[in-house]
């Protein structure tokens, strides 16, 4: 035990020292000028580090960007802890991946880590400015644009992924394209449980159902929520226990757990991916997304059915963004924007960083979509949102047979206009300064209950009152008051601006 502790502390020390020694060396790094082109250090996210062929692909992209813009990039793929460390130690970069869920944009921008591009982006890269349109709103802090949103699925649409071979062919049930709410899947669960009393139809691991909280705006790590549709003129921030729809969702999950639809150990299971027999899975995607439906992967036909959304909030729109380093010179910031503009307007160029090298990692299909080769899947797996505009990249098909709609994004963005459920408080962000110690303690308390709540393991009517008692003792009400007062202030300002623009 001592040894392990020692080793743990030693690693901490080594990391600190390494930092100390490395920082002076690294600070000069990005400022190096190449022959007649600029090299930009661009750090993006990848949970597992760079893929095998990343170097080759980046060089292929650099060849084009050098010619077109006189810019090349040193693109680094870093896991989240490395990114946090990089930001926390003040390392130099030119562009960095930032978002509402990783390398938190609002806080970093508030702290002045990002370049204010409000004027620059309109003067220097009008095409980029044009293309983002109304989604600039989510990158604004105090009315100034502090980052470039990456156009992708801007709203969150939650769906069931059902085994159609079983439910439709064998059971004769119909899977509609749209279902109403999480509960609507219950007949399917019941049917499966009757056939297989010893198995569990719901794919549930300790992470819970993906996106099951998306119908709320969540503040301070989710302990405070703002429902989307409120009757009150001023939106109310409220505690988890006061939000009836959320409580009901937890009750539903617990009912499923009691009925044997959910594995009794779900709260300790890391992943259910390996169990292909599970007939009901969940996903968050967008209209026309085919990635869940590859029969070769699952061994049966998968049909998706949206059960709620798309929900659009500041958080959902901040799913992926570029931040430009505040320490950049004006010239370098401009070059970053130029590069982002090329990624957002030139499809062929964009496809390189998105999918790799044509012929090796992917091929174009006749309908204009992209099909990854096996080499592409193995050696340059695509996480589109980490390397620039998703909308400007070609759409990928699952196989020669399962084709995607090459124009899916147009439809997705149209759907956001027609069917999108918008948060009343879209644009509001909570400034956590001075309340961080409360939030931190609340996080610790929340994590004592959250896993068993979201997996249905515990009864919310028993557990949440306990959690409430502890949270209130740790200063919950003080935090809630602060959130509400900031929210009121923001509403007042927003209304004021509205009346001004009307005049």
């Amino acid at each position: 035990m001592d040894r392990l502790n020692q080793a743990y502390r030693m690693t901490k020390r080594i990391v600190l020292t390494a930092l100390l020694l490395a920082v002076p060396a690294l600070t000069g790094c990005g400022l190096r000028k190449g022959n007649d082109y600029t090299t930009l250090r661009w750090v993006t996210y990848s949970p597992s580090g760079a893929s095998m062929d990343a170097k080759e692909v980046i060089e292929a992209a650099n060849e084009i960007s050098r010619e077109k813009l006189g810019i090349e990039v040193e693109l680094e793929f870093q896991p989240s802890d490395k990114m946090n460390l990089m930001m926390a130690s003040g390392e130099y970069y030119d562009m960095v991946f930032t978002s509402s869920w990783l390398n938190y944009f609002d806080r970093n921008a508030e702290d002045g880590l990002y370049y204010d591009i409000t004027d620059l982006v309109q003067e220097e890269t009008p095409a980029l400015y044009e293309s983002i349109g109304k989604y600039w709103e989510c990158a604004k802090i105090g009315g100034r644009i502090m980052g470039v949103p990456i156009l992708k699925d801007m709203g969150a649409e939650e769906m069931f992924r059902l085994n159609a071979d079983y439910f439709e062919t064998r059971k004769g049930m119909e899977i509609p394209e749209r279902m109403d709410g999480l509960e609507s899947v219950e007949p399917f669960l019941k049917a499966y449980k009757e056939d297989y009393p010893n198995k569990y139809p719901v794919a549930m691991d300790k992470g819970g159902i993906p996106g099951f909280l998306n119908f709320l705006e969540r503040i301070a790590g989710g302990v405070i929520v703002i429902p989307y549709d409120q009757d009150t003129p001023v939106p109310q921030a409220m505690a988890i226990w006061d939000c009836e729809p959320l409580m009901n969702r937890y009750r539903t999950l617990h009912r499923w757990y009691e009925a044997g639809y959910i594995h009794p150990d779900a709260a300790t299971i890391d992943s259910t991916d390996a169990d292909l027999s599970i007939p009901v899975r969940f996903g968050v995607a967008w209209k026309g997304y085919m990635g869940y439906s590859n029969p070769a992967q699952w061994g049966f036909e998968v049909k998706t059915s949206t059960y709620e959304g798309p929900f659009l909030s500041r958080q959902s729109e901040q799913g992926a963004m570029f931040g430009i380093c505040a320490a950049c010179t004006k010239e370098r910031a401009t070059e970053c924007l130029k590069y982002i503009e090329l990624l957002s307007t030139d499809r062929k160029f964009r496809d390189i960083l998105a999918y790799g090298i044509e012929g090796k990692h992917f091929n174009y299909l006749e309908n204009g979509t992209v099909l990854q080769t096996q080499a592409g899947i193995d050696r340059y797996p695509a996480n589109l949102y980490t390397t620039g505009s998703v909308v400007n990249a070609s759409v990928s098909s699952v196989s020669q047979e399962v084709l995607s709609d090459p124009d899916q994004w147009k439809k997705v963005f149209e759907e956001y206009e027609t069917d999108g459920i918008y948060s009343q408080t879209k644009g509001f962000y909570y400034d956590t300064t001075r309340k961080e110690s409360i939030i931190t303690s609340l996080q610790a308390i929340y994590s004592d209950y959250s896993t068993e709540l979201r997996t249905g393991t515990s009864d919310p009517d028993v557990v949440i009152p306990k959690m409430r008692k502890r949270m209130e003792a740790a200063g919950f009400n003080e935090l809630l008051e602060d959130v509400q007062s900031q929210l009121n202030e923001w509403m007042e300002k927003a209304e004021h601006e509205e009346t001004e623009s009307e005049e």
């Binding site: 460390l85 926390a88 303690s441 996080q443 209950y449 896993t451 393991t457 740790a474």
Partner: protein, 323 residues
């Protein structure tokens, strides 16, 4: 452990060679260790300032400037998140409860094992036992956690299979905190006893054999030999390990309390120790100042405890103390 003997050597042998030369040689020998301590123990000490600063780095500037110039002083604010939790008494109780038990059992059981093993005549059997007991020490906690899950899983776990075989109802182990104090102690002893045993076994082997032979001739039984020869000779080793372990009374093995119970929410009342709490609080945000504050507090308390323990040992048996 090694420092006092080194000191004694210097004193004894110093008379023979000219003192300065003698010291120079010793210094040269210990230089790598000194450099190591400087680089990894003393140099990073400036990190303590993280605990008292509201760390706000600016990109492109050095860590030192970010820490000392760009970050405002925060006083003791960084510590406050630790004291906000109404569960703090329980967290401290858990931390101390387990550590005290580990402190006692972690000495008692390995010493007993070592004493018994030293008496074994078959060297081969003794070697096999040592190896088998040492193996768990090299397993990572994550693996131990999943092995345990193999036993305690609700549906497929071995323990529940056996329970069902005897007609008893299956237990949802990961939702039943009552059992876990015992389970955690068993797991920790199982994993660490072998390693500690080897240390005591070494110490026993170093004891002069003639003492035992003489005792045997005088008709001393096994228990008498253990009571009057082995244990007194082991006292300095036990004291050293005791002192070192009291220094980490507030620290706890994160792997044991977080990975082994698979972070199960229901078990939180019995698994939450200070390290687990800090991890959970800071998991979602990379707040360096808060984590520095927590670890500073742990180490400061540990340092005080270590000095107290050392003083207590010194009072009872001067030769066994460290300083």
């Amino acid at each position: 452990m090694k420092k006092p003997s080194q000191k004694n050597n210097v004193r004894k042998t110093g008379r023979k060679a000219p003192k300065a030369r003698r010291d120079r040689e010793l210094f040269a020998m210990s230089l790598p260790a000194i450099l190591w301590y400087l680089a990894f123990c003393y140099l990073p000490l400036f990190g303590i300032f993280f605990a008292f600063k509201q760390f706000t780095p600016k990109p492109g500037e050095s860590l030192l400037k970010n820490l000392f110039v760009n970050s405002p002083w925060a006083g003791l604010d960084n510590f406050s998140f630790l004291f906000r939790s109404s569960e703090l008494p329980q967290i401290l109780f858990n931390t101390l409860f387990y550590n005290l038990i580990f402190l006692v059992l972690g000495i008692l059981i390995p010493v007993m094992l070592a004493v018994v093993l030293a008496e074994l005549h078959s060297k081969f059997f003794s070697g096999v036992v040592q190896m088998v007991m040492l193996l768990p020490y090299f397993l990572s906690w994550v693996i131990v956690g999943y092995c345990l899950y193999g036993f305690l899983a609700t549906d497929e776990g071995q323990v529940n299979h056996v329970l069902r075989m005897f007609g008893a109802a299956a237990v949802q182990w990961y939702q039943s905190p009552g059992y876990w104090r015992v389970i955690l102690i068993l797991v920790e002893i199982w994993k660490s006893a072998g390693y500690a045993m080897v240390i005591y076994l070494c110490a026993i082997t170093a004891i002069d054999r003639t003492l035992y032979e003489g005792a045997k001739m005088d008709g001393a039984t096994f228990w008498q030999r253990v009571r009057y020869i082995t244990l007194p000779m082991l006292r300095p080793t036990i004291a050293t390990i005791f002192i070192l372990r009291t220094g980490s009374l507030l620290a706890s093995d994160f792997g044991l309390f977080y990975q082994v119970p698979l972070d199960s929410n229901s078990l939180q009342p019995v698994t939450q120790t200070l390290d687990v709490y800090v991890y959970k609080a800071l998991m979602t945000q990379a707040n360096f100042s808060f984590s520095a504050a927590a670890s500073f507090l742990q180490n400061a308390v540990g340092c005080v405890l270590l000095i107290i323990a050392n003083a207590v040992v010194k009072k009872t048996d001067e030769d066994s103390s460290l300083m």
